[in-house]
Symmetry: C2
Subunit: 280 residues, 2 copies
Amino acid sequence: MLITDLKSLRVVVLGAGRVAAHLAPALVSAGHQVVGLWSRNPESGAALAARLPATAALAPHLTQLPPADVYLLTLPDAVVPDVLAAARFPAGALVAHTAGALPLSVFAPYKEQLRGGVFYPLQTFGPGRAIAWADVPLCLEATDAAALATLHRLAAALSTDVRELDSARRLQLHVAAVWVSNFPNHLLGIGRELLAGAGLPWELLHPLIRETVDKALAQPPFVAQTGPAVRHDAATLARHEAALAAQPRWQQLYQQLTASIQATAGLLPAAANNGSGSRL
Amino acid sequence: MLITDLKSLRVVVLGAGRVAAHLAPALVSAGHQVVGLWSRNPESGAALAARLPATAALAPHLTQLPPADVYLLTLPDAVVPDVLAAARFPAGALVAHTAGALPLSVFAPYKEQLRGGVFYPLQTFGPGRAIAWADVPLCLEATDAAALATLHRLAAALSTDVRELDSARRLQLHVAAVWVSNFPNHLLGIGRELLAGAGLPWELLHPLIRETVDKALAQPPFVAQTGPAVRHDAATLARHEAALAAQPRWQQLYQQLTASIQATAGLLPAAANNGSGSRL
């Protein structure tokens, strides 16, 4: 099939989880065509298909995928090798996964049959969240230059921040992303539970959370660190640990995070960790 | 002295750290008068005085404080008792501290001489940051109703979110604030260092950080938790730990945070911790 619009690519999406639920409609909005779907879970697959144009038909089996310019694997990392082994792609097909920590070499066993690629969107995809795709960094990698060019065409319609990144640096980026997203989310969850336990509204902490992030993006967080840990404020630390006595897991994590802050501050120039006078 | 403007109060600020550097100018902007300053560090005190109207003269000693409607202690928690013991306040003066974890009872030894209060601004005060005071929750407490009313007058000119909070709940709030501000800031710092180590720009993570926070404020973070920890994605966790091998402290903290996420998810309904399909 001749592609008349250079920007438009035919895409088959494998997987119907959160990434697919965000990415497939965004690809359609960006002018690409989703020409097929496959999901381990037929219900998720049908739900996603219902949100897409009729061209995005659900394939009954991995051996019956329609022809496409790109096969996008939006699957858990551990599932990707199984799907690669079970699927039947057209000869020379471009198959790209969307994972941060999965090396390009996952495609190596199939180098005679297909071209491999990575199309990693650096974002967290919560249910019901509208994603500003134009700002989402898309990190690309491929087994050959033509495949990379195709992934660039796929990405350019979606985001203004498209980068080529090899597997090693993508892994480093993915680790860093866990530190700035999954882990802070967990701590915010603990804060929310503690506030609820005190009968206080979550909204009370919102201005503090906003300013914390604005500050961290504007200046190096280690230098801007405040709070009882970096001040070595033993009395406050003791009061806080006592206040967490009913949640021994959180009390322990509080101590571990405090130790990490103090160890980090010990490595910085003295002037940088002077939190004197700060209330937090 | 008769106070002709009901909204305007005379304030003496003790301490010239970050809180004072933000709060004193904000009080002046809000229409109050700073009629005196005192600081353990004369240089910080002079620097703050230079940013305030001439009425805000630096007191040479704690026994030579000018008359005022409120004496605000913007001091490290551990210093407050020492300053209370050393200072000479006019009989019946209203002395308020600005600390989250310091109980009102810190004033109890002086109940014959002065009235005590708490004026706790729930915010993190980084150097060079412009604080949106109208949004900052101000948590008030006092030893008597008249003192509380005065603190309300002080606060009303500054913020739209003024609350009365007893010492026990203020401590709970302060602990929660550490979880959502100091601790996430530390994790953001680790993320920034890891990214720098990979030769990647910090800005690459900004859209992810923004969305992480927007999502956490919009829905309960524990329910919205994503990432390899909550997915029990052993292969990715192993890759990440290997990638942190050069930083054993961070590798250990990674394991501790992962364990905490998994323990929390184990306490939630099964449907809530299904992160399947998420890339983070």
